[in-house]
Amino acid sequence: MTVREFIEKNDLQIITEGDLEKEIDGCYIGDLLSLAMSRVEEGQVWITIQGNVNIAAVAALTDPACILLVDGRGIDEATKIKAQEQGINILGTALSAYEAACRLFQQS
């Protein structure tokens, strides 16, 4: 499934857009950046509630297919600009991390 298909199937909000044709391969859920840094793998959906600018740095280094902000969390303008510059897909949803991961598992 591509990021675009994942968005369409779950009515996710696009907060910043990079390459939406990236293939999704699994997910990692976590809000602690040092853990995410060592655990997020290329192509995964990184599910988090963390919306500060450092998520863009972690994503730029670990290459997830997208970041999914759950529980209706948003990001600030600085994060938006940085993520956009680096071509990172950041999506948003009111779903919980558990609900989002279950859907991803069922749809993959």
């Binding site: 040092s34 853990l35 995410a36 840094m37 060592s38 963390q50 500060n52 972690v58």
Partner: protein, 142 residues
């Protein structure tokens, strides 16, 4: 792969979380251009990012010097921060002296130094309380 040693220098601004990751992104880009294999790039990027964060949170700013040779990537972080009084304790997963501000941003999990050790092939810490800390990491390329 680099035919001779490439030296890179970065200045790290203390207490500025928004610039964290710039040096590590740059290293990642350079290593990609040099054709270094992905696992070594990942190891270098993680080690470098954690070093940057530590230099910002604990070191009050400092510098990073990176040397890329055909055999190794050597990353040296130097700061003029408070130093580490008990290095063994600092190396324990989960031990952290980070501020509440750092914790709210998702840092301070006590994983920084352990991650740096885990993702580099060798790591040494030299620290003097009141003077600062130097962390040297080596990642092998063959």
């Amino acid at each position: 792969m680099a035919e001779k040693t490439i030296n890179l220098h970065y200045t790290i601004d203390g207490n500025n979380f928004t610039t964290a990751g710039q040096a590590s992104s740059n290293i990642k880009k350079v290593l990609k251009q040099l054709g270094v294999y992905p696992e070594a790039i990942r190891k270098a990027a993680i080690s470098m990012y954690e070093g940057e964060i530590n230099t910002i949170i604990h070191g009050k700013g400092g510098e990073a010097n990176v040397a890329i040779s055909p055999e190794t990537i050597t990353i040296v972080f130097t700061d003029n921060g408070p130093g580490i009084s008990d290095i063994d304790k600092a190396m324990q997963e989960g031990f952290s002296t980070a501020t509440d501000e750092a914790r709210e941003l998702g840092f301070g999990a006590g994983m920084g130094l352990p991650n740096m050790k885990k993702y580099s092939d060798s790591m040494t810490i030299e620290s003097q309380v009141g003077k600062g800390t130097t962390v040297t990491m080596i990642i092998k390329l063959n």
